[in-house]
Symmetry: C2
Subunit: 359 residues, 2 copies
């Protein structure tokens, strides 16, 4: 690690683990016969994008128009924006639709009408459906509302209705792996019911797209589904480990943080690594403590095993307070590097976009 | 506001309020005869820096070496880095010390020795003291340890011992305005005790520098203090309003967020405005609800009054879920803008550095 020369908070990405994570989900998707359209919001990084390309991926998801532009500029030609259409950025949407095969998310007749009337090239339309997460989308029980939106879509030659899309984000609140599988089954069942209803109403070829990393990691085979869009799996993180979606050795990024003070009498060190690097996302770890990140030491392949009795237990803007076990405390000093496995890698990677190193 | 053309999450800064906030603290500092060295970590913005310059401010605080470099490049010549020295960035510290009057924060003999031996130009040294916040610094009761660090400093001709510096961040946990004043008094008293002890040991001209916005906002006169370094006061935010450090009309920034979905049956709207714009900082509002931001409507001078029964009650990476009162719900649609007063403006301004507009 010393040759990495970490001098300030830096996101270290282990390429071998990224490749393995991509391969695992790719193969599972291939085996199930579903399209794999990974969400790039987690890494937002052109070089990590290249690792997906190496694995044969051509279709991606972005979470904002600006992010879609970024990846279009990096040569991606098939992009779904997995976020309800922001009609205020219509000019950007128009130029994107000219440049790539663009998928857009709608949940109202008004937005469909607006797109139909304003887009001057073709776009794919996905209807956002809420299967229980409760964030956004049309309640899966409201089939007739979904039908009305599809009917509206069909009025416009430039819009192609692709299908139903959901993000079962409630898997993040799951209490067990079985719970996650249960949410997946429930989500798939609800979407298939909507599809059946639409078929009886004469609408054919409706695809189903699902998204969350916990489901995509734990479910062995995707039945009755056409597309998966997980994002976080590329790095995973401490939260996913605690959820049971990944193993420790699947976590593919960590933040190298310089130690700036050691308080031996309190078993604590202060690191340069705070809310502007890690984000304020927190989780309760297996010891029951609030955690802003798990702690490891630098090692040959980036970082070693998580230190069981160490924890980033408090953060402010730039500071992280780390509780350390005695052995680690004795081994570090001001100027040492501690590796922090982030609670939520999407937010951490976003904050450290300009300070990311692939190893 | 329509001429502002907000099309994506954008930090709107009200210059008139910024100027007034600067003036209030400047005048108080002048009246008390203390140096005002505002912390620029909140805004991190060259144009907001210019508003301080207009007000006659010449000395500033930064929270990292990179931030100090940014403001040095913007013409600031007297910068204290209010964060323990990160010895790994010694090359950057050396070039900064050549360029500006640099103040550095230490809390160990080892760091002083390292600086003394490695700096090739002069720097000011502040000793970080912990008066009860418990984050970092030397416990104010450990006078002899502080004395030892000062003695070490005096061995090096390039180091000038300036004094004792603290951040009484525990004012953020205060339960009342009186509580904040009490913490300030306690902090000042503890630092003055250390200074008295050092004087009896023969060390003269030890300055005292304090920092937090709640204290600097509520205390009328700074006695026995030489320097104040608040930062957040430039914008304030929803947290400071709830703490009682500011009035609603002092809050000088808000995030313009496009509405991307309206769920009338749930009294909710979905905005483009999530953890990558607002941060995940949360607070409990006066209704007892978890809040990721207060909500207002766009208005002539940026935004109107906080809507009492509206609230950003949940956020994910890009989405914000907003509970809206009936009147507001009826007045908005997809494509409307909601203004979100951030919980913690420092983190929000950091996230929206590239999307900030001064009005």
């Amino acid at each position: 690690m010393s040759d990495l020369d970490i001098v300030k908070p830096t996101l270290i990405v282990n390429k071998e683990r990224v490749r393995r994570n991509i391969k695992t989900i790719s193969e599972k998707a291939w085996y199930s016969g579903v399209r794999f359209r990974p969400h790039f919001k987690t890494h937002q990084n052109a070089m990590v994008g290249d690792l997906f390309r190496e694995a044969g991926i051509e279709s991606i998801t972005a979470s904002s128009i600006d992010m879609a532009k970024f990846f279009a500029d990096n040569g991606w030609k098939d992009i779904t924006i997995g976020f309800p259409v922001n009609v205020l950025q219509m000019n950007d949407i128009k130029s994107l639709a000219r440049e790539v095969n663009l998928g857009l998310l709608v949940e109202s007749i008004e937005t469909v009408k607006f797109l139909g009337e304003n887009l001057d090239t073709a776009a794919d339309i996905w209807i956002k459906v809420d299967t229980g997460y409760g964030r956004t989308g049309i309640d899966s029980k409201k089939g007739s509302r979904i039908k009305d939106i599809i009917s509206e879509t069909r009025k416009f030659n430039n819009l192609t209705l692709k299908g139903l899309l959901t993000h079962a984000g409630h898997t993040y609140n799951a209490v067990s792996e079985d719970d996650i599988r249960q949410i997946y089954d429930d989500t798939a069942e609800k979407l298939q019911k909507v599809r059946s209803y639409l078929e009886t109403e004469g609408f054919e070829n409706i695809e189903i797209s699902i998204g969350d990393t916990p489901s995509c990691s734990l479910v062995e085979e995707f039945n009755g589904i056409d597309e998966i869009r997980p994002g976080n799996f590329v790095y995973y993180d401490y939260m996913q480990l605690l959820l049971g979606s990944c193993r420790e050795e699947d976590i593919a990024c960590a933040v190298g943080c310089p130690v700036v003070a050691v308080h031996e009498e309190k078993d604590e060190a202060i690191i340069h690594g705070g809310a502007v690097h890690l984000s304020k996302e927190q989780v309760r770890n297996s010891n029951g403590d609030i955690s802003f990140g798990a702690v490891a030491l630098p090692a040959e392949n980036g970082w070693g095993k998580i230190l069981k009795n160490s924890n980033v237990f408090s953060i402010s803007q730039e500071h992280g307070k780390v509780r350390l076990d005695n052995e680690t405390l004795e081994s570090i000093k001001v100027g040492s590097i501690l590796m922090v496995l982030p609670v939520h890698s999407c937010l951490t990677a976003n904050l450290l976009k300009e300070n990311t190193v692939l190893i």
